[in-house]
């Protein structure tokens, strides 16, 4: 009983990927996002069709069109046709 409970909780814990923003690049070309998180700026290059998870505790993102956006860390950014949309 206890063992199965622990196993279930562990499974839930492991499969729970809750709070992270993800970015999906639906274009064929590589798109670049500039992510500012925890005091440092990093460039996040997304190859065509790639999905990346980033930004667990809130961050700022510069989208391909130059817009600057703030993320709480639960959004999904979808890039298609060079235009990024936040969902």
């Amino acid at each position: 009983m206890w063992k199965s409970l622990v196993a279930a909780v562990a499974l839930l814990a492991v499969s729970g990927s809750a709070h992270a923003a993800s970015a999906v690049n639906k274009d064929a070309q590589t798109r670049t996002l500039v992510v500012t998180e925890g005091g440092s700026k990093t460039e996040l290059a997304l190859a065509g069709g790639e999905t990346v998870e980033f930004c667990q505790n809130g961050c700022f993102v510069t989208l391909p069109n130059g817009d600057l956006e703030a993320l709480t860390g639960s959004e999904t950014i979808e890039i298609s046709g060079g235009v990024a949309r936040i969902k």
């Binding site: 499969s15 729970g16 817009d67």
Partner: protein, 841 residues
């Protein structure tokens, strides 16, 4: 010396701990409120840019202030942590204010898309209104981007400051531990005059306050003291009333159980300490309330109250654990003399450390010279070191031969080492280090011992049938319907809960004592609650807990709904029991599945990732769990189709019996021999199932009767029909029928066919009919032929002979003869042994 003060004041720590608990409670509800704020901010369209710009400017000013504070000299550890927490909050706020633009940005972008790009050169010009709108939108977008960029810069800057604070704090701590003071300066005769001056100052401050208080606030003081005393008395007396039995050690009890010893130790520490704390706390509260306190006196009084409380608590704890007067009630089995010494030494240590803490507050407030602080700390650490060494040298146990035995080696050497270390560090001038170590020894030691006793009690409660013997267990068994086994399991749960509680309380406490700041622990708790990232996976305690809670709530809601639907709605609607059962089960399964799904999503688990797991497992399920799945689906079909219901008499293959329970994998059937047969549902779906009581309980039973050739068959027919008709359980319609079924080899064969309203009564009716047939045939001289297969001679008992005297005489004769024969044999054996000569070699 600021750093000393920060680490030395337990009252600060207490309040921080309180705050920490509050924050922990808040953190649980944090994710919800966070989103609510974000949404609320998102709906402010007009003047949005100006508003947020103002907010960000405010945040920037605050950050500037914090930066200045950090760069000041002599900033202490506690305030650094405070600043860090506030900076983190600022960072969140700046992010939030940037988030406020999201909807507006989306609107602008989609509008710009609708407007399309500006016409290229050579193309016809667009209307002015369009270009004006595009320009307006673009410039607004630029403004918004500028504001967000400000927020971004701010958050980068705050991150930098937080890093800086981390570095500064570790440097401060290093400095505290490694700073060396020149003792010869501090320990010169000058110190004595300094001390006298300071004492004079302190005396003056206190006496002036006292005279002020007595002159102007005498009644207030009296009132405050009496109210506080009353409160403490109520607590103490009420506690004694409530826990009186477990509170006092009973000296007449020769062999108290470990659990009762523990509970006595616990309550006799807790209640008086609480009473004293209530008294001191309420005294200070009422003094504050009546404005009796002036200037620094409040701080002194706070410190004094803490000192008294700590010393009292330590004294009570050691007394309770060692019980110098009652050897039977000791938690640690040391001898009486050493126990008395241990209590004295521990109390002395607590007094020294607490007094030193009190003096440090006084020093701090009076602005006394550094040398005085050093001298005071030096003396205190040396005393603590000596006490530690004395404790290590103590021989607390008695061996069987009466000699005294020391502590176990590890304990002795640890204590000895700590004592020597403290003394040597103090002698070398590392006062900060020595004080840190001695404070840790006292405080961490107390916390560890208390936690250890708590663990022991949890273990004792968790033992078999221990919980039922506690007062709570006795109360429960008297006032509720719990069985012994349930109580035992409850005891196990309680013991686990106690363990968890101890960890939750003492881990932060010990971390605090080790110089971690409450801010650190808050940050860890926050992280733990909102999720730790391992790779791309987030483990979130609150998520999992809320998921479990949601599932449990859903489960109980389902059970309640099921009960309500079954008991109130369907029972009153006169719904058939089979339908009721099916609906109840279906609702139960659906509800549990729904609760599980909601729970999983409340735990923040992406169902798509579960789908991945399910996909991987489906192949395995297809092969390995084929039967289970097929039974499961069959169970669902059984519930929907209802070929039988609970209570039906069914025949499935070799099994015939009453259906007891239809569950999702198998159906339980009870045969008429009261054997429970668990039949997998797929068997019931794939094979033919006979149901005697499907639509109604009407059933026919056949009874065969043979009569001898030559009988009057008409008469036989009439007699049989009469018998069938006259039985009260036999239905009139359909009519009973007697079939002349066969000219058999040895008999003319008849069959009585009767219908019964309840086929379950078949056996009774058959019996009655057969008895009646035999009786009537006897009367009417109708023969029932039988074909003898084997001739069996009936065995009759040999009659008991009646001549008792003769048997007695015979028996006596036989017994005598036997006895004579034995005696003869013995004699022969003896004489034989005598006459026989020993064998030659």
């Amino acid at each position: 010396m600021n750093a000393f003060a920060a680490r030395e004041s337990p009252i600060h720590m207490f309040f921080r701990l309180l705050r920490l608990i509050l924050v922990l409670a808040l953190v649980v509800s944090a994710p919800l409120s966070f989103e609510a704020v974000a949404q609320g901010v998102g709906q402010a369209p007009a003047g949005l840019v100006a508003d947020q710009q103002k907010i960000i400017q405010g945040l920037t000013t605050k950050t500037d202030n914090f930066e200045k504070q950090i760069q000041q000299d002599g900033v202490d550890d506690g305030s650094l942590v405070d600043i860090r927490l506030q900076l983190e909050e600022l960072s969140r706020q700046s992010l939030n204010s940037a988030l406020a633009f999201r909807t507006r940005l989306g609107e602008i972008n989609s509008r710009l898309e609708q407007l399309g790009p500006p016409p290229a050169a050579g193309q016809p010009a667009e209307p002015d209104i369009v270009s004006a709108e595009r320009e307006g939108l673009t410039s607004e977008k630029a403004e918004i981007n500028a504001v967000i960029a400000q927020a971004q810069t701010l958050s980068i800057r705050i991150s930098g400051l937080i890093d800086q604070i981390g570095n500064m704090r570790s440097a401060l701590f290093r400095n505290l531990l490694t700073k060396r003071y020149v003792l010869s300066d501090a320990l010169s005769p000058q110190v004595f005059s300094d001390a006298r001056d300071e004492f004079d100052n302190f005396y003056k401050a206190v006496s002036s306050w006292l005279s002020f208080a007595i002159k102007f606030k005498f009644q207030a003081i009296l009132a405050a003291t009496f109210v506080a005393l009353g409160l403490a008395l109520v607590l103490l007396v009420g506690g004694r009333r409530l826990f009186g039995r477990v509170f006092e050690a009973d000296s007449t009890n020769e062999d108290p159980s470990y659990l009762s010893r523990l509970s006595v130790a616990f309550w006799s520490t807790l209640l008086p300490t609480l009473a004293v704390a209530a008294f001191l706390g309420s005294t200070i509260f009422f003094f504050n309330y009546y404005n009796v306190l002036r200037g620094d006196i409040g701080l002194f009084l706070n410190a004094l109250a803490t000192v008294i409380g700590v010393v009292f608590c330590v004294n009570r704890l050691t007394n309770a654990a060692l019980e110098p007067r009652l050897p039977n009630w000791r938690l640690i089995p040391v001898e009486t003399g050493p126990a008395r010494w241990l209590v004295r030494l521990t109390t002395a240590m607590a007094v020294v450390i607490s007094f030193n803490t009190f003096l440090s507050v006084v020093n701090d407030k009076m602005g006394s010279p550094l040398s005085l602080t050093i001298a005071r700390s030096f003396v205190a650490t040396i005393i603590v070191g000596v006490i530690l060494i004395l404790m290590a040298m103590l021989r607390p146990f008695k061996a069987r031969d009466g000699s005294w035995r020391p502590w176990p080696a590890w304990l002795r050497y640890t204590s000895l080492g700590l004592g020597l270390f403290t003394i040597i560090a103090a002698l070398l001038g590392y006062i900060g280090l020595a004080l840190f170590v001695s404070l840790q020894v006292v405080v961490t030691g107390t916390a560890l011992i208390t936690a250890y006793i708590g663990f022991l009690s949890a273990q004792a409660i968790g033992e078999e049938s221990a919980f039922a013997n506690t007062s709570v267990g006795r109360w429960l068994s008297a006032n509720s319907s719990y069985e012994d086994t349930a109580l035992d399991q409850l005891g196990l749960v309680v013991s686990i809960a106690i363990n968890v509680m101890i960890v939750l309380v003492f881990l932060p406490l010990i971390l605090l004592m080790w110089g971690f700041q409450p801010g650190d622990i808050e940050a860890w708790a926050y992280k733990l609650a909102t999720g730790i990232n391992i790779g791309s996976v987030t483990i979130s305690v609150t998520g999992i807990l809320s998921g479990i809670v949601v599932f449990v709530i859903g489960y109980f809601l389902t059970r309640w709904f099921q009960g309500w639907l079954d008991g109130s709605v369907m029972a009153r609607g006169k719904v058939d029991t089979g339908v009721r059962n099916s609906i109840r089960l279906a609702v139960g399964y659906a509800g549990v599945a729904l609760a599980a799904l909601v729970g999983i999503s409340a735990a923040g688990i992406d169902l798509s990732s579960l789908a991945l797991v399910a996909g991987a497992l489906s192949l395995g399920i297809g092969f390995g769990l084929q039967n289970v799945v097929s039974n499961f689906v069959s169970g669902l079909i059984l519930l929907a189709e209802r070929p039988f219901k609970v209570g039906d008499w069914i025949v499935a293959g070799d099994v015939s019996g009453t259906v007891k329970k239809i569950s999702v994998r198998a159906t339980e059937i009870e045969t008429f021999q009261r054997q429970s047969v668990i039949l997998p549902n797929s068997n019931l779906i794939n094979n033919a199932v006979g149901n005697w009581t499907h639509r109604n309980k009407l059933g026919r039973i056949d009874i065969k009767v043979g009569v001898a050739y030559g009988s009057d068959v008409k008469q036989v027919h009439a007699v049989l029909l009469d018998i069938a008709r006259s039985h009260p359980l036999v239905l009139k319609n359909p009519e009973p029928f007697v079939l002349f079924s066969n000219f058999g080899a040895a008999a003319l064969e008849f069959e009585i066919r009767v219908f019964l309203a309840d086929v379950m009564n078949g056996n009774v009716v058959q019996n009655d009919v057969r008895f009646a047939v035999l009786e009537r045939f006897d009367d009417q001289h109708i023969e029932i032929p039988s074909t003898p297969r084997a001739v069996v001679e009936a065995r009759t008992h040999v009659a008991w002979p009646t001549d008792d005297d003769k048997i007695e005489a015979d028996f006596a004769e036989q017994a005598e003869a036997k006895a004579q024969a034995e005696a003869e044999a013995k004699r022969q054996a003896k004489s034989g042994r005598k006459t026989r000569k020993p064998d030659p070699d």
